[in-house]
């Protein structure tokens, strides 16, 4: 049993113009939880796609359990004993849980038997799940349970997990880790991809670090600090954003007992939301996606008009005004969905800069657009926020997620807002770029603007928030000073484990 379970040697994969992986090699032992670390674009996804048979390597060798392994398709990978939990869920919303599980298995039993096995496995691992429910009706955490159970039903020898915790509350993460440790104890190896370094330090036995497609190091993550790991990933010293002490000014934006019915059958109702944000502060709003974040942003941006006096900007009621008058006053927003909401995918960066910037940047005169001003604005954003693109004439769609995120956030910040509302400002952005965006938000607050940052990334909110509030099922908790809050307290503010603990503590649960 001395041979490692998975051994990669000299793997190379090139795409036109990019070498995604070059001479990558590492091993995963039996029963080992191995972390794969790296920034966006470091080649982690390509690498696991090769292991899972979705992409064929150009060169190199893979061995699984000591034997040569050349998967031609995910079917072969699954037959070999490899299962994968995808970063962007590979689920079908209109199909039910059992059907989704069946699609991820090689030889699924008849549906009735499968439903029984799903129940059984989900109870064993403390991940309660009803096989007959439509996946479209499930929460993000529950969807991930579907993916995990789909893998567990195949008794995998190696489980690949691509950023599994990004949509979970801290308590849900704890339960996931317990499940993973149980699997590890049963001898399953896990290849774990995440950019949350603290998680990797608590969970993993070994780590391989990728940068620009190459292995730049390996280590035992338990012996390194999160900062050391981050610096290995980035390849340079990291400067965590530093808040500057400054005084808070007047109340810039005020929401009073706001209730908004859901816009669609899948939407969330906003219930009795009140908040105040002062000049110079960053109000962090945490919560798992789907608890009203998008709805709250839509109300603040003016996409969803509400009663006029429910929303006050420097004391002036603005609830019924639209987005452009609000922009003119100085209330800017950057929504979460980059393609299609924050930016028009097929329009150039110049056009996208003009779409939100024309009001404040004086780009329009008697109905005509001053394109040189729009171009200057776009170029300014690209330069100041280190957006990597051949030029401002490129379509928004052509940018990687992280680069586009830098662009849409920078586009608003450079308009010198008095109040800036951002939703998921660093979602999918690599560590150094995320630090830059956070620093820009802090600088903006230091210059006297009020910032509302809605995010699922609690570490991020702890880093930048002056005060912290939790959004859960459309209700906003009373904000608390961020200094001194612990992750556990925040987890409870976020609604705890969303029922995930049921299988573990139902004995004690009865009062």
């Amino acid at each position: 049993m001395s041979a490692p379970l998975l051994e990669l040697r000299g793997l190379r994969k090139a795409y036109p113009g990019v070498v995604a992986n070059d001479d990558v090699g590492f091993t995963v032992g039996r029963g080992e939880v191995h972390a794969l670390l790296g920034e966006n674009g470091a080649g982690k996804s390509t690498l696991v796609k090769m292991v899972y048979g979705l992409v064929r390597p150009d060169a190199g060798e893979m061995r699984f359990g000591g034997e040569s392994y050349t998967p031609g398709s995910p079917h072969e990978a699954r037959q070999t004993g490899i299962a994968m939990v995808f970063q962007h869920f590979s689920l079908f919303e209109a199909l039910d849980v059992a059907e989704n599980v069946a699609l991820g298995m090689e030889n699924p039993p008849p549906m009735r038997e499968l439903a029984a096995r799903i129940r059984e496995v989900s109870e064993t691992y403390g991940l309660p799940l009803d096989p007959a429910r439509l996946v479209g009706d499930l929460s993000a955490g529950e969807r991930q349970r579907v993916e995990i159970i789909r893998c567990l039903l195949q008794d995998p020898k190696l489980l690949i997990m691509d950023e599994p915790t990004s949509v979970l509350t801290p308590q849900e993460v704890d339960i996931l880790f317990e499940t993973l440790r149980k699997l590890q104890a049963e001898g399953t190896s896990i290849l774990y991809i995440s950019h949350k370094l603290e998680e990797i330090r608590t969970l993993c036995d070994g780590a391989t670090i990728l940068r620009l497609g190459k292995v730049v190091g390996s280590c035992d993550p338990r012996e390194k600090s999160a900062r050391e790991l981050a610096e290995m990933m980035v390849g340079s010293e990291l400067n965590p954003p530093a808040p500057q002490a400054h005084d808070l000014g007047e109340v810039m934006l005020e929401v009073n007992a706001l209730t908004v019915p859901p816009a669609s059958a899948f939407g969330t109702e906003l219930r009795d939301i009140s908040l105040q944000v002062r000049a110079g502060e960053v109000l962090g709003i945490g919560g798992v996606a789907g608890n009203g974040q998008d709805e709250l942003l839509a109300v603040l941006s003016g996409e969803v008009p509400v009663e006029n006096d429910k929303l006050r900007f420097k004391g002036e009621p603005i609830g019924a005004t639209g987005p452009n008058p609000r922009r003119a006053k100085g209330l800017l927003t950057a929504p979460e969905e980059r393609l299609g909401h924050a930016a028009a995918p097929d329009m150039s960066l110049i056009e996208n800069a003009a779409l939100s910037g024309w009001v404040r940047m004086g780009m329009v005169k008697s109905g005509f657009i001053n394109w040189s001003k729009a171009r200057a604005h776009a170029e300014h954003v690209i330069k100041d926020f280190d957006v990597r693109t051949p030029g401002p004439g490129n379509a928004a769609r052509a940018l990687s997620g992280g680069n586009l995120q830098k662009f849409v956030i920078g586009r608003e910040i450079l308009q010198k807002p008095e109040v800036l509302v951002v939703n998921q400002p660093t979602w999918g952005v690599d560590a150094s770029a995320a630090a830059a965006i956070r620093q820009a938000l802090l600088d903006l607050a230091a210059e006297g603007a009020a910032v509302i940052a809605i995010s699922q990334d609690l570490d991020e909110l702890m880093e930048i928030s002056t005060r912290f509030a939790a959004l859960n099922e459309g209700r906003l908790s009373a904000p608390r000073d961020a200094a001194g809050l612990t992750i556990d307290e925040i987890g409870l503010m976020l609604g705890g484990a969303h029922g995930m603990e049921v299988a573990h503590i139902h004995e004690e649960a009865a009062p």
Binding site: K49, L54, F89, S90, E93, P108
Partner: protein, 310 residues
């Protein structure tokens, strides 16, 4: 007016006959759309099927061979669509419209020397004494073989989509081609198979028109039935039983209004002629008015091009 001249038994028997082309084409399109492909070329595939089947039936004297040829001819049309939209990633709506125009043109060309010819007769099936039984006999036991085929197809498709693994994969591909690809299912193979099946069904429907219902060849003889089939699939919320209902409703009202016209009822002919369209759409809209359930059954990737990016 003489309603007495309308015999309900013959009416039902006639409506089953009249509905079959639409039912066949709609069932094919149902499978195509469930796989996430929107093929607006049903009309074009139908009419190419109509003329292919007609030519082969006339030349060989065998209606059965005619139906085979119809299926093949329309499948070739469908595969042209498949290559353009799936391999060359052309726009499905534009390509489908083009396919219809192309089909109308090419069928007219193929049929130039076949105008005015009668095809070999394709007899109705008889089942010993059963066909003589009053009421039930003419309706259930004295139809053309393709009528039974089309009804069997409704059951088969329902079963296929609901119970088989292959049907599940087809639905999965139509729901999210990216997720299906990530799990290792071939989006292209699934969609090509669905497109070919849709073509074959449309071809059979077209041939049923030119060989059984009319039976002769005239240019543009499908007269919009392909479009009705398309509409029925959507308004039936992609459910085979509702497709059957929609097709028979359309066929039924068509036959009925013809009977009413013959009976000399005092309603303008134009109103009667538009009634099948209006009534079918109205009924199916009412059935599918539960937006949430209809949306859940609609293939989420419908009409979106798939390109496997690595």
């Amino acid at each position: 007016m003489d309603f007495g001249s309308i015999n309900p038994v013959l009416l039902i028997a006639a409506l089953m006959l009249a509905s079959t082309p639409i039912l066949l084409a709609a069932l094919g399109e149902l499978i195509v759309e469930k796989s996430g492909v929107l093929n607006l070329g049903v009309e074009g595939m139908m009419i190419v099927g109509a003329i292919s089947g007609f030519i082969v039936a006339v030349e060989t004297g065998s209606p059965a061979l005619g139906f085979v040829a119809a299926a093949i001819g329309a499948t070739i049309m469908a595969l042209i669509f498949g290559v353009l939209t799936q391999l060359l990633l052309s726009n499905q709506v534009a390509t489908g419209l083009g396919l219809t125009l192309f089909g109308l043109g090419v069928s007219a060309l193929m049929g130039q020397s076949y105008v005015g010819i009668r095809p070999p007769a394709s007899p109705r099936l008889t089942f010993f004494g059963l066909s003589e039984v009053p009421v039930i006999g003419p309706i259930a036991f004295n139809q053309h073989a393709m009528v039974y085929v089309s009804l069997a197809l409704v059951v088969a498709i329902w079963w296929y989509l609901k119970r088989t693994r292959s049907g599940l994969i087809l639905r999965a591909v139509g729901e999210s081609h990216d997720a299906a690809h990530a799990l290792g299912y071939s989006v292209l193979k699934t969609r090509f198979a669905a497109i070919a099946f849709g073509g074959a069904c449309a071809g059979l429907g077209g041939a049923f028109l030119s060989l059984v219902i009319v039976p002769q060849w005239t240019e543009g003889m499908t007269a919009g039935r392909g479009w009705i089939a398309l509409a029925i699939v959507v308004f039936a919320s992609w459910r085979p039983w509702r497709v059957l209902l929609g097709a028979y409703l359309f066929g039924g009202v068509t036959v009925l209004q013809l009977n009413l016209q013959a009976a000399g009822i005092a309603i303008p002919v134009e109103l009667l002629s538009m009634s099948p369209y209006l009534i079918t759409i109205l009924v199916l809209v009412l059935i599918s008015s539960d937006k949430r359930r209809a949306a859940a059954n609609a293939p989420a990737s419908l009409g979106r091009s798939f390109h496997a990016s690595a």
